[in-house]
């Protein structure tokens, strides 16, 4: 008895609800952008500069007391958050203290850090500091630049590769799906104010890689079917391709999500934001390769005469019907 999540020979019409799904995607994207502009991202020190001190204690954390202890130092914006993880018992209480970049100095000075640590220890003498990270504004500015460059660069590189291997319509469809995924991921980071740091950029790129992989598999089948069924309307053909690859799409997303779920629950709090981004991205990416990328291809239409050399009459007369 085999486990079959997707039954054999599905004939789902993915375009039937095209208006709703496409509308939902656009709405979600707009909402993400609004969230991004209204709430902003909770940038970590990688992008904003400043210092993060991780504290660990056996007794419970009193965020207000921590804040009061640091306040006299007049360090400007101080964010204190308690960190949770299933692996922490009652005797492990972890918090993260973030101090903004200080005026006129590149990285927060050792004296400042020592002062903060001393102030915190007056509240809780058992406090230890497993990690201290400090990034100057100069570096954080450059990190933002290179992060934007990385995301845009990979989008362009993929656009180019897909264009090379498929038709340009596919490339546009694939990129639309990627922009969709990245936007939605940024949206959820803005909505829940999850710390957005350098690792999240890596996560975004991974999402881009995963989502494109998914999209390409569907496109690859569409390309094959375009050659096989030269007269089938593009809409039916894309549906057929999606149905044929649906089982694989679900299987791969399933195994990837399983592995990520293990990491999300058991991988520790340090990389939870990073794993969450990828987890979310895989879900969104799977959705977008079925509902976004194909829609764009259908909208743009595909010229059906790319096998001209083999068969000069191949389907050219149908090109306009589909478009």
């Amino acid at each position: 008895m085999r486990l079959r999540i997707v039954p054999e020979n599905t004939k789902i019409d993915f375009f039937r609800a095209a208006k709703i799904t496409f509308g939902a995607s656009i709405l979600a994207m707009v909402l993400s952008l609004v969230l991004f502009f209204v709430m902003g991202l909770n940038f970590g020190i990688d992008f904003k500069g400043g210092t993060t001190i991780r504290t660990e204690s056996e007794s419970a954390i009193d965020v207000a007391a921590y804040r009061d202890a640091i306040a006299p130092l007049e360090l400007g914006d101080v964010v204190i958050t308690e960190v949770f993880d299933p692996s922490f018992g009652d005797d492990r209480n972890v918090a993260s203290v973030r101090i903004q970049a200080q005026e006129g100095v590149e990285s927060v000075t050792a004296e400042t850090i020592a002062e903060v640590e001393a102030a915190l220890q007056t509240v809780d003498p058992t406090l230890t500091f497993p990690s201290v990270e400090s990034v100057g504004p100069k570096v954080s500015g450059e990190l933002i630049q290179s992060a934007i460059f990385a995301v845009l660069g990979s989008l362009v590189a993929i656009l180019f590769y897909i264009w090379l291997r498929f038709e340009w319509q596919f490339a546009v469809g694939a990129i639309a799906a990627l922009v969709h995924d990245v936007t939605l991921t940024i949206g959820i980071f803005a909505a829940f104010q999850i710390k957005f740091d350098l690792a999240i950029i890596a996560a975004l790129l991974t999402i881009v890689g995963y989502s494109i992989n998914d999209t390409v598999v569907v496109f690859d089948r569409a390309r094959e079917n375009l050659r096989k069924f030269k007269t089938m309307p593009l809409r039916d053909l894309l549906n057929l391709s999606a149905n044929e690859t649906l089982s694989r799409t679900v299987m791969t997303s399933g195994t990837t999500l399983l592995a990520l779920l293990a990491l999300l629950v058991l991988g520790g709090d340090v990389i939870r934001g990073f794993v969450f981004a990828i987890f979310w991205g895989v879900i969104v990416g799977t959705y977008s390769s079925i509902y976004v990328a194909k829609n764009i291809v259908l909208m743009l239409g595909v010229k059906r005469d790319w096998d001209k050399k083999d068969d000069p009459k191949a389907g050219t007369q149908f090109a306009n019907i589909d478009a």
Partner: protein
């Protein structure tokens, strides 16, 4: 049809076997690490029973490469420092002033009195009292220029001189600045490396980053602050008179003397007068050179005060040795051949070219050539790193088991084949990481777990395709063949795009992110290999043995 040539079978098994052998040390991480450390010490010439025992913990004939653990897993300090190269310009201008003054003073009749004006630190501004003779003064100062001492200098002069009314303004030329910057960074790198090596931590990373930055990663230290302190101490360079040479470290040096070891001669000690003739602060430059007999030597130059002291001392002590001491170690103890006036001299000895270059670097490396500004400092405690490793391990195992169960439930026997391939995939990733000596970071572990999930994708693509082909194709053998053939383009296209993103991440990212890019990229390569070659071979071998009439995928 389903034929795989024997040579290819052998090759595939060889790769897998090689993977197992090269990945194996990581299973015994602590043991292999202790053995490697012990061997490294033995190689330097020291040895005792304990070291030999440690070295014996891991057989010599086995590969001993390990995956490097990143700072976020091992704990340690990460610093990014910017070298304040401009400071050197100011120092150069300061040192140039006496030269300009003397040159102009020699022509006092034409240019009049010379006074130094307040100016920007990076330039030298002198006023002459005979304003109409500015052109003549300009010529004189220009005459002091020397060609830039670098390959890229292309014959350019080291200074730019211009006249502004009665003022002559001297600045370093563009080419000289570039050459100076480069030298400054190199020196700073060398000093930082020496300082940190002295502390003797394991495999620190000290590398130049960009134009004027130095990246310092030191595993195992308590805090970034400690590293800063280590780097911050200035090297003490002194020139001291030699009293005698001895091999007894405990000999009584006598009053006002001290006994110091030799840097490169084992067991040799020098008794020196405690009071230095000249100290390193007065050294302006040191360059590798050759003496009149063509033997490698080191040229050095003092500032005026140093030059005077050194000149007087050498004049009085021809024939006796003096010691060049760096951080309480005697670098060399040459004999004074002649009176050395003018503050420059040459150190000869039994040097090879490398040694003389090294000595020049050490001499220049006396003190940091310019200040360091720390742009980024991160300290990760070892416990936090250990926790991360444990969490990552657990997540990887649980994730892998979940994927395996899912695959076997979905594909039965073929799922088992995929599992074997997945295992080899993991093994190969670790083997390649160990061979490259690449660094595994926490996001890197995430990359591996992600690979576990995605690695089966290629198998899934093939299996799903085989299922489809089974409906139409003639017999299972043909279906398997077609499944592989037709899934190939999707596998390649899908993985190339992911590889592109991994590559970009690698190029743009730093530290942990780069670690992630490495495991992700490697994972893609190995998973394509295992899916296309290993599973296929397993399926074919099974098929040849059983010859099933029908198969269920």
């Amino acid at each position: 049809m389903m034929h795989i040539p024997t040579w290819r079978r052998v090759l595939i098994w060889m790769v897998c076997l090689g993977g197992l052998i090269f990945a194996a040390p990581n299973l015994f991480y602590d043991r292999v690490e202790t053995a490697n450390d012990a061997r490294a010490v033995i190689e330097t010439g020291m040895s005792d029973a304990a070291l030999e025992a440690d070295a014996g913990l891991w057989p010599e004939w086995m590969p001993s490469g390990l995956v490097n653990l990143g700072l976020d897993l091992r704990g340690g300090a990460h610093l990014l420092a910017e070298v304040q190269v401009e400071e050197v310009y100011a120092a150069r201008m300061e040192a140039f002033w006496p030269e300009v003054r003397d040159a102009l003073a020699a022509e006092r009749d034409t240019v009049g009195f010379v006074t130094r004006e307040e100016s920007d630190e990076a330039e030298l501004r002198v006023r002459i009292s005979e304003a109409d003779q500015a052109a003549a003064a300009l010529e004189i100062v220009r005459g002091l220029a020397t060609p830039v001492a670098s390959l890229t200098g292309g014959g350019a002069n080291d200074i730019d001189v211009r006249a502004e009314g009665a003022e002559i303004v001297v600045t370093l030329s563009e080419a000289e600045r570039a050459a100076t910057d480069d030298r400054t960074i190199r020196q700073a790198l060398e000093i930082v490396r020496r300082r940190i090596d002295e502390v003797g931590t394991r495999e620190p990373t000290i590398q130049r980053q960009g134009e004027d930055r130095i990246l310092i990663e030191v595993p195992g230290v308590g805090s970034a602050e400690e590293v800063k302190e280590i780097i911050g101490t200035t090297a003490q360079l002194t020139f001291q008179p030699v009293v005698s040479r001895t091999s007894n470290a405990n000999e009584n040096p006598g009053p006002n003397n001290e006994i110091l070891p030799s840097l490169d001669e084992q067991g040799v000690f020098y008794i020196l007068e405690r009071n230095p003739v000249v100290s390193g602060e007065e050294l302006v430059d040191a360059q590798p050179a050759f003496d009149q007999n063509g033997r490698p030597a080191v040229n050095f130059r003092f500032n005026p005060t140093g030059a005077r002291a050194f000149g007087d001392y050498t004049a009085e002590n021809i024939g006796s040795p003096f010691a060049i001491v760096l951080d309480e170690e005697v670098i060399s103890a040459p004999v004074i051949q002649s009176h050395i006036p003018g503050g420059s001299g040459i150190i000869t000895g039994n040097f090879t070219v490398e040694e003389s270059t090294q000595l020049a670097v050490l001499l220049r490396a006396g003190a940091l050539p310019a200040g360091l500004t720390f742009l980024e400092e991160r300290t990760i405690g070892p416990e936090l790193g250990a926790d991360s490793i444990e969490a990552g391990k657990l997540a990887a195992i649980v994730g892998a088991i979940a994927v395996v169960v899912f695959m076997i439930m979905s594909y039965g026997l073929f799922g088992v084949f995929a599992t074997v391939a997945l295992t080899f995939n993991m093994v190969l990733i670790f083997a390649v990481l160990s061979i490259l000596g690449a660094t595994l970071t926490l996001p890197g572990i995430a990359g591996i777990v992600l690979t576990v999930g995605m690695a089966v994708d290629a198998n899934v693509l093939v299996y799903e395709r085989i299922r489809e082909e089974l409906k139409t194709a003639r017999g299972p053998a043909r279906a398997i063949d077609l499944g592989y053939e037709k899934a190939l383009s999707a596998i390649l296209d899908g993985n190339v795009t992911t590889l592109i993103t991994a590559l970009i991440l690698f190029l743009v990212g730093s530290g942990p992110v780069r670690g992630f890019a490495i495991t992700l990229g490697l994972g893609i390569l190995t998973s394509v290999f295992t899916a296309i070659f290993v599973t296929r071979l397993l399926i074919v071998m099974w098929f040849e043995r059983r010859r099933p009439k029908t198969i269920e995928v």
